[in-house]
Point group: C2
Chain length 146, copies 2
């Protein structure tokens, strides 16, 4: 598998464009510019640039429809979000992850179904979970832990 995960190459501003294309499922540039332009104070030209970069990066597909293009996502939204969250966790000290989860959870509104699913997964994990998770911030030999 190529190590170059496309989701890691998409920038913050570009995610804003992806979000509307994901939600609309497909859209022409006029619609994207209109919708994104309402959320962010960006000029049409700016949004055009972002669309162009997303196409070049392989995040959006184009289909010619008359004189213009219809843009559609080439990556699944949920998958991209799953990866983004996992990548974020992977960058932090293993010891911090649990509490970061707790904190994030408290700040996030979740549906009952999602909450129940989380509880189920957690309960399944509990029996085989370690008593403690060690810090992984230092290389071998520098075991000052934290």
């Amino acid at each position: 598998m190529p190590t170059t995960d496309i989701t890691e190459t998409i920038t913050n501003a570009e995610w804003c464009v992806m979000r509307v294309v994901w939600t609309l499922e497909k859209a022409d540039s006029h619609t994207i510019i209109d919708v994104v332009g309402q959320q962010h104070d960006w000029k049409a030209a700016t949004i055009k640039t972002l669309i162009g970069r997303l196409v070049k990066k392989g995040a959006l597909a184009t289909t010619k429809s008359g004189r213009q293009f219809i843009y559609t996502p080439l990556i699944a939204e949920q998958t991209a979000m799953d990866n983004a969250l996992t990548d974020q966790l992977d960058q932090m000290c293993a010891m911090c992850r649990g509490q970061a989860f707790v904190h994030a959870l408290d700040q996030t509104e979740l549906s009952q179904a999602d909450i129940q699913e989380l509880i189920d997964h957690l309960q399944a994990k509990l029996p085989t979970a370690p008593a403690t998770v060690a810090c992984d911030c230092l290389p071998e030999g520098y075991e000052g832990s934290c």
Copy 2:
């Protein structure tokens, strides 16, 4: 409160340096260069640059000790991690957050205590949780939802 959250200005490469300083609690540049240099294939000069930028950004404090500096973190690791994870979630569609959590959870090793705490928090949230969470990717008026 100033809107400029320092944690948002710290780059990926800089986080790598912060992780070791957090774990060591305090360190001189030689130690940082040694430890970070073992994890990443960076030249000493590169790590010095990162340290300098972190000081300028207010993420590291310096204390003169003889001819050199001792560096200490000016921001708490757990707080920074909490914010990082929350920021990540805030950038994604509200509908995706629950499943992203589930996915991330499955990928992450957590201690029994953390798991139990998560279960407790989730169980507390359950009664007042909404049946569904709506997409928040479009501005008012474009209610195509998703």
